[in-house]
Amino acid sequence: MIEHVVLRVIARLLAPFIVLFALYVQFHGDFGPGGGFQAGVIFASAFILFALIYGIEHARQIVPPAVAQAGIGLGVLIYAGTGVAGMLLGGRYLDYSVLADDAGHGQHYGILIVEFGVGVTVAAVMITVFFTFAGRRGVLEAREDTAVPPDGDEER
């Protein structure tokens, strides 16, 4: 769809605001509705929008598949690591109260860090799944090109 000027300009214009909104939802989840799950999806949707308009190869240059795949594990590590950090500081697993001097702040830090881990994993999984699905189109097309000349999308 890269030939459509309107789509191209609007996508480029919207993408930063989508990412900003995702960060707002991510780090404001303790005061308003939202949190890691929603923020991760919104964050990923900015890159998926970019990929839809500019093509998967361009999007892969911005978010290399290796980075997205590392994010899948990184988020879970952040979450589980917060629990381990609490244990090392003398609390129980996933007890955030020991992360700061008083329990209230400790809980607040813990929740923010854990939500960040959730956001990283969700965004990375969504981007990876989309890249994998959309990338297969190219694989199939290349295979069809060599075998049979394709005649439209329907009735193969």
Partner: protein, 213 residues
């Protein structure tokens, strides 16, 4: 007013579900599924479940629709007509009977009415969970909690293990897609370079993988 809005939204959802079941065009079905998610997200807002509504709108109406469209590119746009073992109306009859049975159970005088303040869930469990959430999360803190959104404290701290499990589920889903559809870092790169060679030979740009359609 709320009741009227709820009824209207639920009627729209029923119509949408009927249309999804009827259509053979998978593109139309995907779009209708997105509309269905948006409608139920609105219902959640009316029920004051803003966090759930947010998730439903982002995941159900947003990303699921896009992923369905991505999957749709790999298959036909039309569902193949297939013969049902029990005829077209057999499964329909079963579903209607099941729905009628569920509605019938809600007519029981002992069941609490929709939005009843005296329902067991409202009377005992919800205040208990709210109090426990505040007590455990804000333990020893002079102000009961520093975090106004009780949904966040419940999900991330009070029910932290559950949420960790949910993240692991998403992690597993991502890894599963990578293993099944072969987007592995090294394998993917090899395959992509091979594809690019093939593209050059057939005079096609390497952006052929762009999911636009």
């Amino acid at each position: 007013m709320i009741t009227a809005t709820n009824l209207a939204l639920l009627a729209f959802m029923a119509i949408t579900a009927w249309a999804i079941a009827r259509t053979r065009n998978l593109f139309v079905a995907t779009m209708l599924a997105g509309i269905y998610s948006l409608l139920i997200a609105t219902v959640f807002v009316l029920l004051d479940a803003v966090d759930v509504a947010f998730t439903e709108a982002a995941v159900g109406a947003g990303i699921t629709t896009v992923l369905f469209l991505g999957a749709l590119l790999l298959t036909d746009r039309q569902a193949k007509p297939h013969k049902h073992r029990f005829g077209t109306y057999g499964p329909m009859l079963l579903v209607v009977l099941l729905g009628a049975a569920l509605v019938y159970t809600t007519l029981d005088p002992l069941m609490p009415h929709f939005g009843d303040a005296g329902a067991p869930a409202q009377g005992r469990l919800a205040p208990e969970f709210l109090a426990d959430s505040v007590r455990q999360v804000g333990r020893d803190a002079p102000t009961a909690t520093h975090i106004p959104n009780v949904v966040t404290t419940t999900l991330a701290s009070y029910r932290g293990f559950d949420t960790l499990g949910e993240v692991v589920v998403i992690f597993t889903a991502g890894v599963g897609v990578l293993i099944l559809l072969g987007g592995g870092a090294s394998g993917g790169r090899r395959r992509r370079s091979r594809r690019r060679d093939g593209d050059d030979a057939s005079g096609r740009g390497s952006t052929a993988g762009g999911a636009g359609a």
